[in-house]
Amino acid sequence: MKDFNYHSAKDSKEASKLASSSSAFLAGGMTTIPSMKLGLATYKDLIDIKNIKKLSGIKVSGKSVTIGAATKHVEVSNSKDVKKAIPSLSSLAEGIGDPQVRNRGTIGGSIANNDPSADYPSACIALNATIHTNERKIEAAKFFKGMFETALKKGELIEAIEFQIPEKSSYQKHPNPASRYAIVGVYVAKHKGDVNVAVTGAKSCVYNDKEMSKALTGNFSSSSIDGMDLDSSEMNSDMHASADFRASLVVTQAKKAVDAC
């Protein structure tokens, strides 16, 4: 791994002051450190944000669950408050990686990285999340821009993610048999007025499947999306799953999610 300077920031202000075009924020480091070891990313400065107390913790109000950016996956999966308010969010956290990754990886890190097959971005889209940064509030629908790309600007730090509590919801994924990342993951959330069907792993970036949302808003039953033929032209295709297989998996996982609601 190439040389860099390690800094531990006391607060968001200091963290963003230290940021430059050749720096990265370090939370759990579950993606940042392996990418740096492989030479896929190099930074002059790593700014550790784990010790900023304000960035950790879970708060539940009547309508929403707010999770601090540096909150670890294990904290979300074990939280009684999250289990009660949005059980599907706690089970999503429980299914990320392995226990060692969950002991270390954070929700903010996962979202800022926006890996095309990460689990958390689908929760943000399905649960109409608001991303709170040190500068502004961003709606999830405008936050995820493309493969590993977000609306975050240089030095902008995610402080918390606010999820809207749905009436019902479920997250189902078809994991890679070795690494357990989502080959396809579908987060279905039924809100008062409409239904969101957030899909991860299928395309270069998480998205809300409009066709399925519409069908399920009309009739919230897996039969209303049964056999739906999704357009696979923009879907990922690799040694693990062809684009057509992914398109079929999206429907299968969405049906499973609706049935589990």
Partner: protein, 168 residues
């Protein structure tokens, strides 16, 4: 020559940092460059070579140690990142030369063949029993998701963890 010597020290001064840890109950303090991984720090700076490096990409789990009571993959954490923590490695499990019940169980039930994955496997399993005293077979298998063994086929590892659960 005198000048260039000092320049080097100054440059080094910028990228080196002091790492203070409590490792297996012993306080240690060493200078290490900021890009030193915890696994490197343990193996090369402290000569604690019981922690193994298998894949070096956080898949195999041979490098699992405990930091402040929780298991983590030491090849995917910076030494600077865990500064000030309490670290337990496989060398820290024995008491007065007597093996830990988990080590005993792995030995008794042949939970290892070549032994390369064993330090990480044992450290993960100990963390499981700290959190779940009587895990089911499924819970043991789920927990050991991040530890890969290419010899045993896992059956004897699961048996060993169950046996240790009766002794801990």
């Amino acid at each position: 020559m005198f000048k260039s010597y000092w320049v080097k020290i100054l440059i080094k001064g910028e990228i080196m940092g002091k790492i203070s840890l409590e490792v297996n109950g012993r306080k240690v303090e060493k200078e290490a460059s900021d890009n030193t991984l915890l696994s490197t720090f343990l193996r090369e700076h402290l000569q604690l070579t019981g922690t193994h490096i298998g894949c070096d990409t956080s898949q195999c789990g041979a490098c699992v140690v405990h930091v402040d009571g929780n298991s983590l993959k030491s090849c995917t954490a910076l030494a600077a990142d865990v500064n000030g923590s309490k670290v337990t490695t496989i060398e820290g499990l024995e008491t007065n030369g007597k093996m830990h019940p988990m080590q005993e169980a792995f030995k008794k039930l042949h939970g290892l063949q070549c032994g390369f994955c064993t330090p990480g496997m044992v450290m993960s399993a100990v963390d499981l029993l700290q959190k779940n005293k009587k895990p089911s077979d499924t819970e043991i298998r789920d927990w050991l998701e991040g530890n890969i063994c290419r010899c045993t086929g896992y059956q004897n590892i699961v048996s060993a963890v169950k046996e240790a659960a009766t002794k801990m």
